[in-house]
C-alpha cells in the first residue's frame, strides 16, 4: 500500500494562513459540538432552582454560577422509577438493533446480487430503491400508518422495526453494493475453481466486506435510535422509544427541564461508546480502501 503522507511543496501565504486558521476553526467547532452536551449533562444533575440560576447577559464573571450547585441523580431516579424509562430504553435498543439487523441482512443479499449481476432495468431498479429515501418521510407517514393500523402493527416492536427498516434498507442496499463492488469478482471465481460452490465462494469474500458491513450496521442502529417521526407515530403506545418518551415529558402546564436533560443523557450515552468502538471500522469501512489486493 502506498504511503499516505501528505507532501507539501509550496509555502505560500495562503498555506501559512491556513495553518493558523485550522486550529482556531477546530477549537470553535469543538466548543460548538461539545458545549450543548456539557450543558445537558450539568443540567440533568441540577435541581430545578439551580437550573434556572443563570447570570445576566454580559456578566462573564457570573459564569461560575453554572457550577455552583449540589449534584443530584434524582431526575434519573424518577425517570426509571416513575416514568418507565427502563422499558423505553429496552424498546429503543430492540427496535434499532432489530431494524439494523434486518436492513443489513436483507440489504447485503440485495446489494450482492445488484453488484454481481447484470439484468435489464437494473439502473431503474437502483434508482427506485434510492428514491424511496429521497421522498420526505412525512409524506409517507400517513399511508404507512393506515397500512400498519390495518395489520395491527401500530404500537408494537415488530411494527417499529419494520418502520425503521423502510428507511434503513434502501440506504443499506446502496452502501453495501459499493462494498461488494470493491471486491474483485475474480476472487470468487478463483474460489469456485478451487472447489467452492457458488455460495461458498460468496462466503469467502464475506471477511473482506465484514468491517464495512459491521460499521454500516452501527450507522443503521444510530439512524433508528435517533428517529423521532416513526417512533412517535408507529411506535406510540406499546413500543415507545426514548426520543418519543422524552417528548412526552414536555407537558403544557409544566416543562420539567431536569428530567428532560436526564432523558437526553440517557438517550445519548449508549451511542457514544458504540461510536468509539466502531470508529476505526467506520472510516475504513465506508471508504473501503483496504480490501484491494
Amino acid at each position: 500500500m502506498a504511503s499516505r503522507e501528505i507532501i507539501r511543496y509550496d509555502n505560500s501565504p495562503l498555506l501559512r494562513l491556513a495553518k493558523i486558521l485550522t486550529p482556531i476553526f477546530l477549537a470553535v467547532y469543538l466548543v460548538w459540538t461539545l458545549l450543548p452536551l456539557f450543558i445537558m449533562v450539568m443540567a440533568s444533575m441540577k435541581d430545578l432552582l439551580d437550573a434556572f440560576d443563570t447570570p445576566d447577559a454580559g456578566d462573564w464573571g457570573g459564569v461560575a454560577m453554572f457550577f455552583d450547585f449540589t449534584p443530584t441523580l434524582k431526575h434519573y431516579y424518577v425517570l426509571f422509577a416513575e416514568n418507565n424509562f427502563g422499558v423505553y430504553l429496552f424498546n429503543s435498543l430492540v427496535a434499532s438493533l432489530g431494524s439494523a439487523l434486518v436492513a443489513v441482512t436483507l440489504g447485503s443479499m440485495a446489494a450482492y446480487s445488484l453488484a454481481r449481476m447484470e439484468f435489464r432495468g437494473k439502473k431503474d431498479l437502483l434508482f427506485w430503491i434510492i428514491s424511496t429515501r429521497m421522498a420526505p418521510m412525512v409524506a409517507v407517514t400517513v399511508p404507512l400508518y393506515a397500512i400498519f393500523r390495518s395489520l395491527d402493527l401500530v404500537g408494537t416492536l415488530p411494527g417499529l422495526i419494520l418502520a425503521f427498516t423502510t428507511f434503513n434498507l434502501p440506504f443499506a442496499i446502496w452502501i453495501l453494493k459499493g462494498f461488494f463492488e470493491n471486491v474483485p469478482y475474480a476472487i470468487e471465481e478463483a474460489a469456485q475453481v478451487d472447489g467452492c460452490t457458488r455460495f461458498q465462494a460468496f462466503l469467502t469474500i464475506v471477511p473482506l466486506v465484514a468491517p464495512g458491513v459491521g460499521a454500516f450496521l452501527v450507522l443503521c442502529i444510530l439512524f433508528a435510535w435517533n428517529d423521532f417521526l416513526f417512533a412517535t407515530i408507529i411506535g406510540s403506545g406499546g413500543a415507545k422509544t426514548l426520543p418519543a418518551a422524552t417528548k412526552e415529558l414536555v407537558q403544557p402546564q409544566n416543562i420539567d427541564w431536569g428530567k428532560i436533560m436526564a432523558a437526553g443523557v440517557i438517550t445519548t450515552a449508549p451511542m457514544i461508546p458504540l461510536g468509539l468502538l466502531v470508529r476505526k471500522y467506520l472510516v475504513a469501512g465506508l471508504t473501503m480502501g483496504a480490501v484491494r489486493e
Binding site: 476472487i187 471465481e189 478463483a190 475453481v193 478451487d194 472447489g195 457458488r198
Partner: protein, 365 residues
Amino acid sequence: MVDVKIENVYKYYGSIDGVAAVHDLNMDIKNGEFVAILGPSGCGKSSTMRMISGLEHISAGTISFGGNIVNNLAPKDRDIAMVFENYALYPHKTVFDNVANPLKLAKVSSPEITERVKRATQLLEIDHLLDRRPQELSGGQKQRVAIGRAIVRQPQVFLFDEPIAHLDAKLRARMRSELKRLQVDLGVTSLYVTHDQLEALSMADRVAVMHEGILQQYDTPQAIYEKPANAWVATFVGEPQMSLIECVIRQKGSGVVLDFEGHEIAVGAKVGKVLAASKEREVLAGFRPNHVAINTRKTAGSIPGIIYARQLLGGEILAEAQVNNTMIRARVNTDFSLQLGDKCSVSLSKEDLNVFSADTGVAIY
C-alpha cells in the same frame, strides 16, 4: 489428466443477434498437451477459457473432458485449476492459506496439506513467504502464489489466462521456461491464453491463433510460423512483421512470375508450380525479414526503393525500404550504412515466401 474437446462452441454476451465473442470454435487438446491460444486483446481468448472452466455459460456447442460433456458442470466439479490474469489471490489469507485453499476444500488431511503446500512452494521458491499476505508481495511473487495454488493438486486440466502478462520482461522470460518445465514435469493437459506470440510459440506444443472470435489456425508453432493459414496470421505471428506485397501472377515462358508494380519477382520452381495451378491472379506475397536483403548492389531482379526507417534490434538492424507505397522489411547486419532517404535495392527470396489470395487472404503457398 484428460483430453479436452471443444465442438462448435459459440459465446454470445447479451443478445444472440449480436456479434459472437467466440464463433464456431472447434479444438481438441490431447491428453498432456500444452496448447496456447494466441490472439490480440478482445479476440475471445478469455471467453474460451472461461467456458472451459465453467465460469461462463456456453451459448452453443459442447465442451468435453475425456469424452464426458461438462457443459452443465459447476467449476468445482470439473477438476480444473486456473491461474488468473490479475492473480485473484485471497487478500485476507496468508500465502500458505492461499495455496492450501483447494486442498482444504477437497478435505485433504492437515499434515498432508502442510506437506504438499511445502512441496509446491519450494518448487516455486516462495516457501519463505508463507506467512505473508498478498499485499506484502511483489507482482512476481503474487504470480507464483497463484501458480502454487494451481499446482498444489493434480487437476485434470490447467488453465492459464495471461498469467505473466503483468510481469517485467526479464521475469517474464524466466517464468516462461519455468512454467513450461513445470507443465512437462506434471504432465497435466494445459491451456495457456496469451496475446504475446513469443510466449505462445516458445511454450506450446500447439498454438491456436484467434481473431475476432474465429479460430484462424491451430497447429504447431513451427507450422504457424512457416505456413500461416492466411495473411492475417502471417502478419500477426512473427516479430519483426512479415512484409506483404500486392502482386499479380503472370505467365512467363513455361513458368510464372510475380508482377509487383511492373517489377518482376522470380519464384522457385516449387512455388511456381503451385501458383500456376491456382486460379487466383491477384495475390499477396509475404516475405519474412530474414528472407529479404536490402543493400546498394543492383542485381538482376532487385527492386529499387528508398530507406524509410532503421531500428537497432540489438545484434542486428531492421531496415525498412519503401517501394512506391509498399514497405518491405529486412534484417541486416549492424554495419548497415544506408541512412533514411538513401536509395537502395531490395532483393527478395525465391523460395522462402508465402502467397495468399488477395481476395480472401487464404494461403495459396
